[in-house]
Symmetry: C2
Subunit: 445 residues, 2 copies
Amino acid sequence: MSTGKEILALNAFDRSEVSAMDASLRNAVERRLRSFGAASVLFYQAPLRMERAEGVWMFDAEGRRYLDLYNNVPSVGHSHPHVVEAIRRQAGLLNTHTRYLNEVVDGYAERLLATFPPAIDHLVLTCTGSEANDLALRIARVATGNAGFIVTETAYHGNTAAVTDVSPSSRPGQPLPSHVRVIPAPDLFRAPDGDLGQRFAAAVGRAIADLESCGIGFAGLLVDTIFSSDGVYADPAGFLAPAAELVRDRKGLFIADEVQPGFGRTGAALWGFARHGVVPDIVTMGKPMGNGFPMGGVAARAALLDRFAANVKYFNTFGGNPVAAAAGLAVLDVIKDEGLIDNARILGGYLMDRLREIGNRHIGDVRGAGLFIGIEVVRDRDSKEPAPEIASFLINRLRHRGVLIGAAGRYGNTLKIRPPLCFSKDHVNIFIAACDEVLREIGPA
Amino acid sequence: MSTGKEILALNAFDRSEVSAMDASLRNAVERRLRSFGAASVLFYQAPLRMERAEGVWMFDAEGRRYLDLYNNVPSVGHSHPHVVEAIRRQAGLLNTHTRYLNEVVDGYAERLLATFPPAIDHLVLTCTGSEANDLALRIARVATGNAGFIVTETAYHGNTAAVTDVSPSSRPGQPLPSHVRVIPAPDLFRAPDGDLGQRFAAAVGRAIADLESCGIGFAGLLVDTIFSSDGVYADPAGFLAPAAELVRDRKGLFIADEVQPGFGRTGAALWGFARHGVVPDIVTMGKPMGNGFPMGGVAARAALLDRFAANVKYFNTFGGNPVAAAAGLAVLDVIKDEGLIDNARILGGYLMDRLREIGNRHIGDVRGAGLFIGIEVVRDRDSKEPAPEIASFLINRLRHRGVLIGAAGRYGNTLKIRPPLCFSKDHVNIFIAACDEVLREIGPA
């Protein structure tokens, strides 16, 4: 079985291969390493030199184009002109903090809050999803007076010290912090029996009991509502409801991390939690919120933020700046005007159907919601044995055929498919043809 | 004496005053509170509705202009056309993460690293100064194997959970976390005797001993090199050197927080630590780095980042995106092309001279470096008794005269003066005249 360390390295560039590169790429990689060193993370055995991007296409320094099914940040399409123009206009007008009143900022806040159930009525704007989750943990600690959090076993929630503590996928091989418990991902592929909702809730219940047996009070359950880094688990819609109810019964908070599923990607609604018929106590947002402009946010019940503000002075210098607000408004415009939620649902369904039609023995499972899709790559469908090396081969071969995807999951064998939401049938067909060809390279279907 | 809580509230809007506002402002404030609630922070007894800004001027919704001596983020001037154009151009071309190679990103990294002493040779780009300081703490913990940090008593280093632990000004009335020790600010005004450098180093030495007596190993000293939230302490240049040397002797790391003094504001060099003749182990950056575009960074010795990367998987989605890099390059261009470091030195000197000439009994001390200036407001110069209520009166009266400043310091009585670096003599003269008039309102000089 792969460890978390191997999973994260799955699609990563390996610096022992630099010497085998052509001179131009080698120079570019060496340049990167001179400035960013060991802390730098590059994709692919042969890293890409990206130069421009438009819609669903990215172009490298040689002008070669790549169909993007990986990047979930430029969610309404790379370099979308409406977003670019909104950024340009506001950057030339005013870019300041929220200690002044500003029409654009207050307008964005109202527009964003209107997308949530009425109980979620207040907002803090941050710059990143990591800052949002860091703040959510603090809010939950103050609200409950407790420190114990439950997350899934391959969860990723961001990069701050506190958020890394609740991100097992960032801490391969390290023991869990004493205030954190993990539960299995809601996996119907490898454990198809029983009621998933009840099973997931029971695991949460056991984790609460375990925290309490160690004298650690339960503060909250934090889940990415599409379970992206766990390997993408979406169905059956509604499976989160029993766990959310249990969390409330046990006086904890249910924190929905919408950094990845949010802003329409799941094709059912703007927010991933909506598919599950639950209302979170706290919602965190990030990545696609500004289509690349750095922004994030925490939406929560007013009482939770009031209690937090009474205890702690919090201010975020760049959070909610008018340029971010303008970008955020433009993103909401485009999602609505271009019908991107419907498109995500329709094209996601088409993409999953086409993938299943390929019928290759290495495609163990195709799952997801809207344009957030996971393909579990296995040695063969009967054994279900995870095949991360085949997943890695697929990712790198697809890159050479001009198609960008990624990997995730406990075993590192789940392909992550998250194209811009303006994807079309033609784009799906290009991807399917490339997949089919690469799978044929591996061997008979 | 004021508490930290009172200090932070000094320049803050008080929601009990809403009912006394004119209808238009009241509506705008109530609108803000409906979305952001208790967690929102507004400046001034009568909050400002900002609409646009250019250079050193900000304009409110009624078109009234304000001379900005507060905002240290739009450091090369509000809405600077060179920065706006760089953002527009790159946002329309490519905005992605650093897992691809990109000419703009690698060019920026090289240009930024060239501004540091050679020992500081590697970089991690983040989105905010908070993320940068959060990461710096983690790097220091991994490098030293220790958890103990020393900061000044009214320090502010950012808003994440881990950084709030080392930001006493954000935690008014709360006991310090067990791994944090505070030392007095390097204050020559209230404690003029002896050698400041030796005194500051001795306090660091005592704090290290105290940590170790509690079984907590020493990880590092984290200081804002202009001590902004402590009340702005700049002189004598070089006073940080003995403390930095002691920190090295004791195998800790010296972390220079350049989020506020960095990018030329101190008028001596691009970095605040340069005035002190020290080379930090880690430097953190933020606020003015993109003139408002959200960006931050950590620069450090390669060995420190290598060791961190070997232990922890760190990735920052928006950190070092090409639009941020383009904004960062434009900021470095403008600082150089417009001679802003020299301007900060010359105009800062002129501003301090003019302030001292006012000779009012409430101006206890004028201090700073370049265009980072503190004015300590006292009841009278002989008693040196802090007068935060006079500072607050000055801030609010200056706002009504169209001049923006802020406050800081242990007693909340130090006016913070941090105008855009393109400030001119005429701007200084406008500020001095307004100060003079408001001081006369208070009483005889």
